[in-house]
Subunit: 348 residues, 4 copies
């Protein structure tokens, strides 16, 4: 079975394993209070040009999402998100289990617009019964989105502005941020994210780490108690250094520019493999619904083709067959091999 079903099907990039191995018998304090986590946090602050930001490491993205939201919102507040947002659809109501309502808005290509946010904030503020309605307290985005599409710098800047005007935190889920950063279609840098978001994370799980997300908190209002919420929600790793080490391996040290780090290069590989597949699909008349900006492709296959290739290839079915076509998602990763792509294209 060759797997294109997700981008977490393999282990870690070689540099990550090597660093874990090299440091394995060192003794460090637990819970992320070690020198490796400190160095990784420092490296991330430097890459983000955000010297005063707080950096916290999580094992996974659902954990990061629910912890940030639990720590940031007051009991009467909820989080605006795209209907397709991961927190709204694929986390078993983790936000609600923490007491907060997702406030879904219609999405286009997986994205929200500043106008939608402004309208939602104005609707609450202008409502005669707003004391009876959940107050929007945060905007949750993901970039790339659930559909692999990208926010532009202009879009994120507008979202930032509308959040500021309306007292909303802007929180960006970057589980696949590397694939955004490395995409030819991208115009947002890490310093941009740090300047425009109150909180965002650099996903490691889907870009070379065994696991790990590095959360950057730029808004000081989000600091108090944050590590306690992290612990309370089960997200504080005993051997916390494992997270710091992995990000050090991926992001390097010193003055290496992002483009030369494993983190960037691995994502660039993932994006390129997706682009190669998209081009081959296009040549066969199969269009990718949301383009091919990053490492996720969405398209449809005739039912019999889908059935036939499913014996040897894992894709993610995105819904029931309709009109003879099965909608699927295909993911590439830093580990996607050329020969596996060849085999897939040969089988289609």
């Amino acid at each position: 079975m060759i797997r294109f079903a997700c981008d977490y099907g393999e282990g870690a990039a070689a540099a990550v394993l090597a660093l874990l191995e090299r440091t394995n018998l060192e003794q460090t304090p637990g819970y992320g209070e070690d020198a490796y986590c400190a160095a990784a946090a420092q490296r991330i602050r430097a890459l983000c040009r955000a010297p005063r930001a707080d950096v916290h490491f999580f094992v996974g993205a659902t954990q990061a999402n629910l912890t940030v939201i639990a720590a940031a919102l007051r009991p009467w507040q909820g989080v605006l998100c795209a209907e397709s947002g991961h927190i709204n659809v694929h986390e078993v109501g983790a936000v609600e289990a923490a007491g907060h309502k997702c406030l879904p808005l219609p999405q286009k290509d997986g994205k929200l617009t500043a106008a939608q946010v402004a309208e939602a904030a104005a609707a609450w503020r202008g409502s005669d019964s707003r004391e009876h309605e959940v107050q929007p307290g945060m905007v949750y985005l993901s970039n790339p989105t659930e559909y692999g599409t990208l926010y532009t710098k202009a879009e994120l800047t507008a979202l930032h502005a509308v959040c500021r005007q309306n007292g909303l935190y802007l929180f960006l889920d970057g589980a696949r941020l590397a694939c955004a950063l490395a995409s030819p279609a991208n115009d947002l840098t890490l310093p941009d994210y740090a300047a425009l978001c109150d909180a965002f994370y650099l996903g490691g799980t889907k870009c070379g780490a065994l696991f790990g997300e590095a959360l950057v908190l730029t808004n000081e209002a989000l600091r108090p108690g944050f590590r306690s919420v992290l612990k309370q929600r089960g997200g504080m790793l005993a051997k916390g250094r494992l997270l710091g080490l992995q990000f050090l391996a991926l992001l390097g040290e010193g003055d290496v520019p992002l483009r030369d780090t494993p983190y960037y290069l691995l994502a660039q590989k993932a994006d390129a493999q997706a682009a190669r597949i998209a081009a081959a699909l296009a040549a066969r008349g199969i269009a990718c619904t949301f383009g091919a900006a990053t490492n996720q492709l969405f398209f449809s296959l005739p039912g019999d083709v889908y059935t036939a290739i499913s014996r040897d290839f894992a894709l993610t079915r995105m819904g029931p067959e309709q009109g003879g076509l099965v909608p699927v998602r295909l993911c590439t990763s830093w580990a996607t091999r050329d020969e596996d792509i060849d085999a897939l294209l040969a089988a289609l």
Copy 2:
């Protein structure tokens, strides 16, 4: 100011106050463990022909909604409801604060259909990632709906069937149930509700009581720990007898048929007053968007008319002025006076 903004603008029906006064200095146990609550529960069971049902009294509807949902659902379950459902819109995320996600479905005239519920249940069951998605565990309806419309017996029977087939509790918010029961358009009886719903309540606040909702639990699976959840959520009234007494005053004792009880007659009055206004509006070319089956009317007024009458009459504005028209809601109640209607119609 003459108020048509809601149906809880006055106090209680005379019979209610009289009974409270007559029993005022009696001594009873607290927390609803008194003889009046027992008698009221017995009376409700008799009216519902549900001799084994549990009856619990609440001060208000939000409290009833959140307590039933908190007691019924497991942590990974949510509640299907109309997008316009009160729990989804007007209770500050009370369901989410109790840890559960509202799963809103598009509504038509404030109603859900059995087909929608079946589809939502099937979608979850058929999803490859259903372990990551909130499981529908309950259907929440209100009757009358938020728009004053009514479910038919056929519709509720179909919803009951689909809930049974899919392991969903059926919970009906009856904050205005009296106005449904007394409507000429209604074909559902209290025994029907008891037979078709796992839980429903007879609203008192909006029909003659100072306050109070009488919850009927027909499904024995909902019993364990229920009173403890009621207490935990702050809903157990110290002088619980006040609730039993009010329902006794409204529903009477012995074999009086529902149609001859104050509860029914008060609601009939409210419905009739709304129908009278609707007819007068129709004569002026103003249509009620959702008809006039119960005591709520939804229509639009020219902006200047709305502004002019707002000095003397309270209506509920339902949104911003659009195309020169202001959408409003008008409520009647058991206490709505003929002369106030005359004055309103004269002013329009």
Copy 3:
């Protein structure tokens, strides 16, 4: 059956019912946004000499406790309380259901000391693992305590000071505050409470109202979103005026001093009836464990006596029989009749 089991066995003081009746058919806005609630709030601010305080009305004390705590604390914070505190023992974990831990401290006569609070705050602050421990965020007291005892002004002043020094809110449950205010042993005034507490309430349920607690928020940090939390937790009464009206009836208007209000006089009666019983018990050699400062008496009866009188008199058994003695609680109220006391004393 003559009931001394609790102080909520009867209905309301005559003045309360009369005012409800007199205003019954008036129309007012709902949810506490009416003129009666405004007047009652104004009257309470005047009595407390706290012109800038917020006043919110609740139907019951559990509701008030959980709402204040949910609104005030951040997710990593808990509430210091006596082991015997109502929130820790008799509310089915309502505080925990809202996500916060009760941090119980040993009590003496139902009371906490400033030294205990200082020590608990210092222990957290000084702990090497404080990020892993719930941060004390509030102190919850009740006055009178669960055992009917009273804090002195010196004690409450010391608790206030230690709370300020340690960044803790001071919240005082005043479900029986009237019985404290009217006690001969009391030296705390309403302005004292307002000056020393961040939040406290004047209980109505146990002093002349059908139901109702009037919460005074003196700390502006507790204001944002408070009414939304009230709604979310099910505590916002539709016919909110019922609460304002009852407090107006109890507290009067204009410049009437507290000592001349029904609220005070009713409590004075309750306290005096308890004192009369305590004196009679003492004459028979039965000591009240916690004295007789307010309307609750705690003592023990021989098992056979307890059994014999239980046919005709309701007391609250406080635990299993031990050494031949049954511990009981006896409550008086504003409605306790002399002849019922005579009958009890005759039966003992």
Copy 4:
């Protein structure tokens, strides 16, 4: 700095790293639905002689604790535990954040007795106000306890019996279970745990894994929705195989008896190192408060000694200096080196 402060200061046993490396580029499904997790679960079932048990893997112990408790309890239930229990003290109220109250009982040597549990269950059942009190729904133990002591088979059997009689789940936190299994003082086997507990886990983080706890659910009532709660609480690892692989590396495959597995041998080493230190301390007249059955030692050092050695050795201070003595905890692990022990003993 030589660290004896905790047993998670190093990375993983060599076998663990080797297996992660060997399988690194394999492709597997995510979220624990891979063949390695299946094999590890099967191996654990075999070792426990519990062929029908469910096995779930967690990254950490707080996550495991809160997920099991959230999944098992109903809203009105709490969890009996020792006052010193990890969930009660060191998880920032994670249980309360999930809506449930810890019901702490006094401990002796970190342990609860069957008699205490029986008494607590009887107290609730016998209370006249039990509807107002949190119902005990579970007993939480840890073995070894927080103080490194061990339950005997007789004690655990008695606890099991009293739990069955009272409808309580028995949940055992085995973060350090390996050190219990390998202790000369131990008489409990894995099949014993499986027979006596409704849920327990084999800790990996503190015995050779990078991270990981393997939860065994023997009670089928705990199965429904469990994986969804795991996801909702943020505990479902994307690359779930990392957990299965580590337990395979530690527990081996086929018919290897537990005593010959790395898991056992690593723990045996940790226990032996602690025993060696305890013996040396005893020779100097320093007694270990709770004995030396497993890998944690608790003793006191003169303040000046503590200060002096703290430059080079990390211990955990367990409280403030009292009477010139500083209470400390010392942990050994599978990685504790003889020369580090020698250095410590030389420094003392």
